[in-house]
């Protein structure tokens, strides 16, 4: 059916239209000559005045590229008779200093009222760390929850887990993001463009986008008659990592495809300490190795796309497979001894470990039909996670038969449709429907969350009103509904239960029951952006929501990993969050400055509260709701000290306070400390056989985090310095230059603790000094 709509639009194809435009440097505003503008049927080169003319049909995406400038794609429409102004930004300028005119993504970000940051391939290459979220941690306001050296999950302004939506190619990424020892399950290679929204974004992204969104946008469509490929090699000393990623992409005229393979293998990571001191236990470490934290990851992806007269369409298939070990002596809170000889090899993965496999198929079609732009996103995801640990009896549970503690098999089906409609008088209306169905199955001898089916659906309307070129109003409303059906679960072993008559009987305890729950919620936002010369002002107020998850509603069992009894609460309401954001940013020649404060209230924030009661001799942690007040923000400053030396500084801070409930007066769990970052970037230009050489030094300073809530501990502040150098080398005559990068993290091998790291709970410091060398060959 989809195709018939698409082909139907052929009929609407119009006569070629001639449009005119001008290309300028985004910083100096000087006209740029010799810029190539490639359309689907025509191409143009700008003259000395930066002017060009190009034939297009109706409305189309053109590629604008020029040496020394970041290439960009611009949507041009023949309907407008005005001259199109396209601003290109020099390719070595800072991310945040982007000012591009013409409807590029950067300009769109400026016009959006929400606080968002655009991240490009260049940034990802220059800052690549062991996992995607560790790479993005350099963005003020974004931090991570790391689990060992290879996994991490996003937190935005101190909120994480299911409060940050990760979206890839328009489809919400669904894994086991509620679990604290779960990573992201996305291949961080081959990503070109990421948009991070700091603040509530339920309006466009639905439930879970209550704290923000990490939106991984589809890669750019390759140029006509092109073939390109790259091979990236990475080696690291701290965890003896070896990684290889290779990708190719090609396009004839209408059809194009891409493919990528990534393999990573790493050993236990090293910490700058010889022993871990947790509660009263002391674990001696062998050669500073945090035993059993090794892992492997193998990912593959393929996509095929088609560009028609008035539509484009791409289907992605990807699979991420990983196996990660967990620290052997205390996974979570329980102290374990084992007969496994963990120190025999630092590369093997013994128990406890987890295995994950994430298979994903997504399809995106964009169709241009007159003033309407239709977007169809379809997705299927299969997420398999196995948590394995040594079988140990506990209480009435005898020694389990195998090591399969918990198995999750989750299938998620997504369908989104959106119509963007440009009306007269400057309005762009978006109407959309999102829907998602999830089916979660469980297995293994440990019980934590029930099997469930879950459906969520939402309808929204959104208006972008362009008052004038520089003043934009944005607002919208959304209604979501959802239902959740949890399934029965009984223990596989019997426990004695006291009867009313004084006798005892042995029964299989029921841990979860067949329950059906329904939810509904409105969300909305209203904001404006005003661009005045080099200054952009934004203000936005919104309400977002999040549906409670199955484990928050219906957990009832021992979490052996954390050695506690977790209990859900079937009476939880959807979380509602009200937030106001302001952003002022100013970009001038030689410096840039920005400030983005926010204030936020939660009516009923859901968290796992440690109670003072016991069940089966384990402390009961119960999902509870409380009113929360949060305030904070980010400040950043960038200065060109000389023409070659660029310095940036930023700070981020969030203050949180619970204003009701059993932990009134406390902060919320995993509150990040005050963080400051200073970085210096020196461009050396060409140096012997290196080209375009850059040196970079980063200092990350964290204040002591003394705002804690049980069971957390105060985390001392720290300072860590990272150094890196990157550039190009001509390895082959007449070939593309190879990109190389050398990075030295934690140069003083400082022993420090990250308050939001999974291993913080058991007093494990962050990884020690690490030298990484990466080289990227372009075919």
């Amino acid at each position: 059916m989809l195709l018939s709509i698409c082909y139907g639009m052929y009929a609407f194809a119009q006569e070629p239209l001639k449009i005119r435009g001008k290309v300028m440097d985004s910083l100096s505003m000087t006209p740029l000559a010799g810029v190539t503008i490639i359309g689907k049927y025509d191409y143009a080169v700008s003259n000395e005045m930066g002017e060009f003319s190009l034939q297009i049909k109706n409305s189309e995406m053109v590629e604008v590229s020029h040496i020394g400038y970041a290439s960009t794609q611009v949507q041009l429409s023949g309907k407008d008779t005005t001259t199109w102004n396209i601003l290109l930004r020099p390719s070595n300028t800072e991310l945040d200093e982007v000012t591009v005119r013409g409807k590029t993504e950067q300009r769109e970000a400026q016009e959006t009222a929400t606080v968002s940051v655009e991240i490009d391939e260049e940034f990802l290459h220059a800052n690549r760390e062991n996992s995607l979220m560790q790479t993005l941690r350099k963005i003020p306001g974004v931090s991570t929850m790391t689990i060992g050296s290879g996994q991490s999950k996003p937190t935005i302004r101190g909120l994480g887990f299911n409060r940050v939506s990760v979206v890839q190619n328009g489809i919400k990424h669904e894994a086991q993001q509620w679990g604290s020892d779960h990573g992201l399950e996305i291949d961080q290679y081959g990503l070109e463009d990421i948009r991070i929204i700091k603040g509530p974004a339920s309006l466009m992204y639905g439930s879970d986008a209550i704290a923000g969104v990490v939106d991984i946008l589809p890669p750019k469509v390759p140029e006509i008659n092109s073939f390109s490929g790259e091979v990236n090699l990475l080696g690291e000393t701290n965890n003896d990592l070896l990684a290889l990623s290779a990708g190719i992409q090609s396009r004839k005229e209408k059809w194009y495809y891409r493919a990528r393979l990534t393999y990573r293998d790493y050993a236990d990571f090293k910490v700058p300490t010889e022993r871990i001191n947790y509660e009263n236990y002391i674990f001696e470490l062998y050669e500073n190795n945090l035993r059993n934290t090794a892992g492997q990851e193998a990912n593959g992806s393929f996509s095929i796309g088609f560009i028609g007269e008035n539509f484009k369409s791409e289907t992605f298939v990807s699979n991420v497979n990983a196996k990660n070990g967990f620290f052997a002596n205390a996974h979570g809170l329980e102290v374990r001894l084992s007969r496994i000889d963990y120190d025999a090899s630092s590369r093997d993965v013994d128990l406890p470990f987890h295995k994950v496999n994430h298979f994903k198929v997504t399809h995106n079609t964009t169709a241009y039909l007159g003033d309407h732009t239709f977007q169809f996103d379809l997705g299927f995801q299969n997420n398999q996670r196995e948590e394995q640990s040594e079988p140990v009896p506990h209480g009435y549970m005898p020694t389990p038969p195998d090591s399969r503690e918990r198995i999750f098999t989750k299938n998620t089906y997504t369908a989104n449709v959106r119509d963007m409609y440009k009306t007269m008088g400057g309005h762009t209306l978006s109407l959309g429907v999102n829907s998602e169905f999830q089916n979660n199955n469980i297995g293994g001898w440990g019980f934590l969350i029930p099997a469930y089916d879950r459906f969520t659906g939402g309808v929204y309307v959104f208006d972008h009103f362009e008052w004038n070129e520089n003043l934009h109003l944005k607002g919208g409303l959304r209604y979501d509904l959802g239902w959740l059906r949890t399934k029965n679960h009984y223990d596989w072993f019997q426990s004695p239960v006291d009867n009313a008559d004084g006798s005892t009987s042995n029964i299989y305890l029921q841990r979860a029951s067949d329950t059906s729950l329904n939810f509904g919620s409105f969300s909305g936002s209203l904001g404006l952006s005003y661009i005045h010369g080099n200054t952009t002002y934004k203000i936005n107020a919104g309400k977002s929501f999040r549906m409670p998850l199955a484990h928050e509603l219906a957990s009832d069992g021992v979490n052996y990993h954390m050695y506690r009894y977790e209990r859900g609460n079937i009476n939880l309401n959807p979380e509602a969050s009200y937030q106001m954001d302001v952003e002022v940013s100013h970009v001038a020649s030689g410096y840039s400055v920005g400030i983005s404060p926010f204030v936020n209230f939660f009516d009923n924030y859901i968290y796992l509260n440690p109670t003072s009661d016991y069940k089966e001799t384990l402390q009961i942690y119960e999902y509870t709701q409380a009113k929360i007040f949060r305030v904070g923000g980010e400040v950043h400053l960038g200065v060109d000290v000389t023409s070659n030396l660029h310095m940036t500084g930023s700070t981020e801070y969030v203050f949180s306070r619970q204003n009701s409930g059993p932990k009134e007066g406390f902060t919320i769990p995993f509150s990040p400390p005050l963080i400051g970052m200073v970085s210096a970037n020196y461009s050396m230009g060409d140096f012997s056989f290196f080209k375009d050489l850059h040196l970079n030094a980063d200092l990350r300073i964290a204040a002591t985090q003394s705002e804690i809530v049980p069971p957390e501990e105060v985390t001392q502040g720290y300072q860590v310095i990272n150094l890196s150098g990157m550039g190009k080398i001509n390895l082959f005559k007449n070939g593309n230059p190879a990109l190389f990068r050398i990075k030295l993290n934690n140069i003083f091998n400082t022993e420090y603790y990250d308050h939001t790291s999974f291993y913080r709970l058991i007093d494990v410091p962050e990884s020690g000094r690490n030298l990484s060398v990466s080289i990227t060959l372009n075919l």
Binding site: Y281, P393, T617
Partner: protein, 158 residues
């Protein structure tokens, strides 16, 4: 537009300074303590307990505000899955599998919100249970929800 600019600047500064208005109400940030390291503390590390014998398990607990609950969970350590947090290591017996291990899991509450308390639980060790290495785990919570734990390696003999 000047007014708009001013308003936005003002709003952003207000928000930043709002952070500093921390009223720092007195929060309980102290964990309770638990110890068997005194004359009557029972059992002591590496102590041998006899089947059929009745003992009073004693530990001293304190908190800065109010104690709430405690639990006692002696369980077998035939598989050497863990060790205690007391000074000195006990010689463990060879590994073995359990046939009829002693299971004792009880939770108790402390009434009255007291700051000091002595746990005293009288237990008769059953006659028919497996002898060998056991591990005696105590936990204590305060009313805020802070927890402390301690555990002792013991042996149960005939």
């Amino acid at each position: 537009m000047k007014t708009l600019q001013k308003t936005l600047f003002l709003a952003s500064f207000l928000l930043i300074f709002a952070c500093s208005s921390d009223d720092s109400s007195s929060k309980d940030e102290e964990r309770p303590t638990i110890s068997i390291d005194y004359a009557n503390g029972f059992p002591q590390g590496c102590e041998e307990l006899q089947r059929g014998e009745t003992n009073t398990f004693r530990a001293r607990v304190t908190d800065n505000e109010a104690l709430a609950s405690y639990s006692l969970d002696p369980h077998h350590n035939f598989d050497h899955h863990t060790h205690d947090d007391q000074i000195g290591d006990c010689e463990l017996l060879p590994l073995k599998s359990s046939v009829n291990p002693w299971i004792f899991m009880e939770n108790y509450t402390i009434e009255g919100g007291v700051q000091e308390y002595e746990i005293a639980i009288e237990i008769t060790i059953p006659e028919d249970i497996d002898t060998g290495d056991y591990h005696c785990a105590y936990s204590i919570t305060d009313e805020t929800g802070w927890q402390s734990r301690t555990s002792i390696d013991i042996k149960i003999v005939e």
